[in-house]
């Protein structure tokens, strides 16, 4: 008996109110959905991953110990290199638009050009044999390790292999498709 006198938690009026409010919300969402879908970036046509052939200005076999040669990603078709590792602002799978081939005590490394602090392009300091970042002053040794902050992580490696001649290398990258 006491249960029957208790106020109903959901009245018919409240239920219909919520039902109509839900219907109105669904209508608005249905109207806005095409616009939200339209905002979503379209898949670029012709995008594909694969090795990118690079012609170096200095052949690897003529690269002196402690020297480096810069290279850029091709613009036609517009391409980028894929980082193999990284920390800080860089990460495996992220893209770089340039890199350095370095001969460091006979060992050849290929680094992405992006500083691990905030992604600026590092430049070779030939006198000091370091890579210096012009944005915030980070410096890296030729083996990619940090010499001076604010960067806390080493330069990212690029996956590469020797091409058909000493001036050519193949670097893992992606044709961007735009």
């Amino acid at each position: 008996m006491a249960e029957a006198l208790a106020p109903r938690r959901v009245t018919r009026r409240t239920f219909l109110g919520w039902w109509l409010a839900s219907l109105l919300t669904a209508t608005v969402i249905t109207g806005l959905a095409p616009i939200l879908v339209y905002f979503w970036p379209a898949p670029p046509k012709g995008q594909k991953k694969g090795p990118i052939n690079i012609a170096l200005q200095t052949p690897i076999d003529q690269l002196q110990d402690g020297n480096a040669v810069k290279f850029d990603a091709p613009r036609s078709p517009n391409s980028a290199f894929i980082m193999a590792d990284g920390g800080g602002d860089n990460a495996p799978g992220e893209l770089a638009f340039g890199g350095y081939v370095v001969n460091n005590q006979g060992k050849v490394n290929v680094f992405a050009i992006n500083c691990s602090h905030l992604g600026c392009s590092v430049a070779l300091n030939e006198a000091a044999k370091t890579f210096d970042c012009p944005c915030h002053g980070s410096r890296f040794r030729l083996d990619g390790t940090v010499l001076h902050g604010p960067a806390e992580f080493p330069l990212s490696h690029l996956t590469w292999k020797q091409g058909p001649n000493p001036s050519a290398i193949e670097v893992d990258g992606i044709v961007l498709g735009f």
């Binding site: 106020p7 938690r9 409240t14 109110g17 919520w18 109509l20 339209y38 905002f39 379209a42 046509k45």
Partner: protein
């Protein structure tokens, strides 16, 4: 705890807003007005349909501008390829562009129907002459918007249609004035990238701003005079 009715939530939000600014009063004054019985006819809705279509144009125009590149240099030009990209690659791009295109066509028809209604009901007469003139100015703006928008896809049809239009403008007498107009519209000796840049600027920045301003004036006049009685 009882579940609140959605209206209670709505009222709480509106009250909160009203305590900070009289929104309810402002909206009531702007929107609520008794519609006279003689205006309860479908042909009195043509003006409102024009407003809805212009709103569609503004919305879809902004969406198209997210992907459109107003650059006619090169072959194929980015202007052309960006329209192809919208049409074929962007998700629902064909729909947004289609709505923009067909609304533009329908807009001209609706403006003409609205003007015909105003004419046949004598709504252009005193004291509403100025509002009629504002309406005519908006018709001209709609036509110029259509003209400038026609060039933007930068395909063969757009190019040669605009060339013909500019040539017609170039025939304005005296000859010097015609040549001046032609050069001014083209932005150079021929229809080329500067022409597209000019038409784009007019279509996207100048004309929409003008038409929104004139719409505001138009609505203020209607509010001031009320809906005119038929003859």
């Amino acid at each position: 705890m009882a579940i609140p009715h959605p209206r209670e939530i709505q009222m709480a939000v509106v009250d909160w807003l009203d305590e900070r600014y009289p929104f309810t009063k402002a909206v009531d004054e702007a929107l609520y007005q008794r519609v006279p019985n003689f205006a309860n006819a479908f042909y009195y809705c043509f003006g409102g349909m024009v407003f809805i279509l212009i709103a569609f144009q503004l919305l879809t125009g902004v969406l198209l501008a997210l992907y459109y590149v107003p650059d006619a240099a090169g072959n194929p030009a980015p202007a052309y390829t960006s329209v192809q990209f919208i049409q074929n690659s962007v998700y629902l791009g064909w729909l947004i562009r289609g709505v923009h295109f067909w609304s533009a066509n329908l807009l001209i028809i609706m403006v003409l129907l609205h003007m015909a209604r105003v004419y046949w009901t004598g709504s252009y007469r005193a004291p509403r002459e100025l509002n009629w003139i504002v309406g005519v100015l908006m018709l001209l703006l709609v036509l110029v918007l259509s003209l400038t928008g026609y060039l933007l896809p930068w395909d063969t049809k757009a190019y040669f249609a605009t060339e013909v239009t500019i040539k017609i403008a170039g025939l304005t007498p005296p000859q010097q004035v015609g040549m001046f107009l032609k050069e001014l519209l083209q932005g150079g000796p021929v229809v080329g990238p500067p022409t597209l840049q000019r038409f784009f600027t007019l279509h996207v920045f100048v004309l929409p701003a003008l038409i929104v301003l004139l719409m505001y004036v138009h609505f203020r006049f209607i509010r001031a005079h009320g809906i005119s009685e038929p003859l």
